[in-house]
Assembly symmetry: C2
DNA sequence: CGTTGTGAAGAGGTTCACAGCA
DNA sequence: TGCTGTGAACCTCTTCACAACG
């Protein structure tokens, strides 16, 4: 039941929280590289990434000792090491399923095709949308899903389908061999062991913000009512 | 420097991890309510929300004792309590800044206007886009940002602007009094103490998936090279 | 009885503070 | 000297296991 893999000589157990921050560091490093900055200290890089320097150093220490004491980190070298660790030195083929408003926006998003990701296929069930060309790709009918996933060697599926379609579509991409899913539909997907799902949910984010907003304003509505009841001795 | 507020009689210190899950529970409860289910056990609700039952019970216990031992939770009552805690029993006015592909998709997204959120304003800098009607609202020029935020009592700003515009726009909404921001631009926003920012970043999500995908395939590229170097005695 | 609510133990993540090294 | 890398302390979150209770 343990997930620790023990593959390779180096410790492969990078904490999940660290993995989630590596892309942020990578982006900050790319910005520095564009400005021809050669070396960066943990303090500077941490500031650019919005974390504190101790956390940054501990995160990087999980990848190895890629810094120089008294100096800092070489930007280009660190870019390479983080990229390699994240698996961005190889190409991943991505399919978008569902080309409504959101799917189109994702398909058109430039940063999407950032290093390492290749948008390989667009799929939809609506005959009106099928055949349309979006960002240089033709939208295929979802009936061809299994075949296209195999032919294009899709490894990541992005689901931008309606909530009701999400689980069935998920089941199909999983049984076609996809083991990484980015889900924009507002449902909790059930997947077999070994399949990774990440969820992006606008409405959940708003609700979390509302909670904090309310707290800043002095706690939940109904508190006064409860207070009155308590005073009343009920 | 402590953030504990000690307002009100009940313990207001709900763990952040719990807050992030309450919207998921709420959605599951709404689904149950639609099917006219009156009572639910922690086991059932947990399954619907994709968590284990101990975690669900602990989460709910932070809100109060709203269950009945031997029976479970009353669906409608729990919906109300969670909604109240999240601040969804009042209305929050939301503004979307930036109406490119993504901004339009967000403006058109139905679930966006889910209970508690009112899309109150759309803003863009592009004169071609300004004046356009999207989902019943007219896009206003960003020059009117300060005025509109005040007039519409905007409490949450959604930023769907290009990366280069994100920080300046953020500064403007913050100085207009907004203290909750949902950021879709791929930058780390700097904000004053007391302002909450949540980030949605497609490319980061893909990179995290790539990391796990690579691990399933047997670890990072370059491991063999390192291995050879080690054998070589370098 | 069956299920909640919760202390206690455990796991994971963050921060501190400084030894170790270029 | 200045910055990295890291043990140790601390904190947060999760899970267990069971007492409490309708």
């Amino acid at each position: 039941m343990t997930r620790r893999s023990t593959l390779g000589a180096r410790n492969r157990g990078i904490p999940e929280a660290t993995v989630a921050r590596l892309p942020v560091y990578l982006r900050a490093l790319h910005t520095l590289a564009e400005r021809d900055i050669v070396t960066v200290s943990s303090e500077e890089l941490a500031a650019a990434a919005g974390v504190n320097s101790a956390k940054l150093r501990k995160d990087l220490s999980h990848l190895g000792s890629y810094g120089t004491r008294g100096v800092g980190y070489e930007v280009q070298y660190l870019v390479y090491q983080i990229s390699r660790e994240l698996g961005l030195t190889q190409d991943w083929s991505v399919a978008i399923v569902g080309l409504g408003n959101l799917g189109r926006a994702l398909a058109g998003y430039g940063g999407f095709a950032s290093r390492g990701f290749r948008m390989a296929a667009l799929l939809d069930a609506d005959p009106v949308i099928v055949g349309e060309r979006i960002n240089g790709l033709t939208v295929e009918h979802i009936d061809k899903l299994e075949q296209i996933i195999a032919d294009c060697a899709i490894s990541i599926a992005v689901l931008a389908v309606p909530a009701s379609a999400a689980q069935p579509v998920c089941d199909r991409v999983v049984s076609s061999g996809v083991t990484s899913i980015l889900n924009f539909a507002p449902v909790v997907l059930a997947v077999p062991e070994g399949v990774d799902v990440r969820k992006v949910d606008l409405s959940i984010e708003l609700q979390i913000l509302a909670f904090h907003e309310q707290r800043k304003a002095g706690g939940p509505a109904g508190v006064e009512q409860e207070y009155l009841e308590a005073v009343d001795g009920s």
